[in-house]
């Protein structure tokens, strides 16, 4: 294969890769069972860069109030997005589509906490999704 062809294929694939929004890392916490864990890693590269260190939950005014601590494992600044989604005791989504993506910038090795408040008292567990665009 000559050099022109190599350059063409590199450019061709970089257009597609550059256009894709990467999916993310999904963490789930159920305060009733006391279980919090990373349940899905759709993007291994992102999972290496950031990790969810800690989940905390409490109930304020009958509403589930949650906090997740997110750590940047790299020395370079990372910018990504996160979103909470809420579920009732039977696993049905509560006010699905209500939460929007929020941007989070973490400097090298920095850890930050992000908080969310359930939209209504029926929400009893939550998921947090991290993604990089």
């Amino acid at each position: 294969m000559n050099n022109y062809l190599k350059i063409f294929f590199v450019c061709f694939f970089s257009i597609f890769v550059g256009a894709c929004a990467t999916s993310g890392v999904v963490g789930e916490s159920n305060p009733e069972s006391g279980k919090s864990e990373i349940i899905e890693i759709q993007n291994k590269s992102l999972a290496k860069k950031v990790s969810i260190k800690d989940f905390k939950t409490r109930v304020v005014n009958d509403l589930l109030n949650v906090q997740a601590e997110i750590q940047n494992n790299f020395n370079s600044t990372q910018e990504f997005q996160y979103k909470f989604s809420w579920f009732d005791t039977t696993g049905f989504a509560v006010e699905s589509g209500g939460d929007s993506w929020k941007t989070l910038v973490l400097h090298g090795q920095e850890a930050k906490t992000v908080q969310g408040l359930a939209p209504n008292p029926t929400a009893r567990k939550f998921k947090i999704v991290l993604r990089k665009l």
């Binding site: 022109y4 979103k83 939460d99 408040l117």
Partner: protein, 198 residues
């Protein structure tokens, strides 16, 4: 270069270029939007989310809403920025979230004339069964008023534009005139023109 390579490159590049034309697609309404530095959907969602979370977890409001659902009304948000911003849309999102939390109820002051007209019709037209007509003087008055303002500072330096927004929301107890809760949300957006950009 081999003879067959050139046509493949031409066809592929052309199909990519043509494929990019006139594409209509649905996007994620909750996605982060950074098209311009002007006020946008992500700012609206961020403001509403911060204000609702703050109001619902503020200890005196937790106490006030633990056993009952107080009634409030929304007064206009004063837009002190130089931009046209639909502040009613912000308060609509905030009141929707508060209402759906099950902690507050609202009276809609924008519909007072329409309600009065309908009640006059029920009482005076002679067409409505009076035993089923809605009576005057039974509405519940609002206990709290939600109001606030939005301001901005815009600075330009050559190719850089910096916009700072501050949204302040207040909750007043109508009977006592006391501010029961207040919070603000700050947003900073900066746009730098690229060498070849507009």
């Amino acid at each position: 270069m081999k003879k067959w390579i050139k046509p493949i490159i031409v066809v592929t590049v052309a199909s990519l270029a043509l494929g990019g034309c006139a594409t209509v697609k649905y996007g994620d309404a909750g996605a982060v939007e950074t098209t311009t530095v002007d006020f946008g959907s992500t700012d609206l969602q961020g403001i509403a989310s911060k204000m609702v979370d703050s109001l619902l977890t503020f200890p005196p409001m937790v106490e006030a809403t633990s056993k009952r659902r107080p009634v409030m009304f929304v007064e206009k948000i004063k837009n002190k920025t130089t931009e046209h911003i639909d502040t009613e849309s912000i308060t609509d999102t905030i009141s929707t979230k508060l209402l759906r939390s099950g902690k507050f109820r609202f009276v809609d002051m924008t519909k007072v004339q329409a309600i009065k007209k309908q009640m006059d019709f029920q009482q005076d037209s002679g067409l409505v069964d009076q035993s089923k007509a809605v009576g005057f003087g039974r509405q519940i008055g609002a206990e709290y008023m939600l109001y606030g303002n939005m301001s901005s500072i815009v600075k330009r330096d050559g190719s850089t534009k910096d916009v700072y927004y501050k949204f302040t929301l207040k909750l007043m107890h109508l009977e006592s005139g006391i501010l029961e809760w207040q919070d603000e949300k700050e947003i900073r957006k900066t746009k730098s023109k690229s060498l070849f950009g507009k």
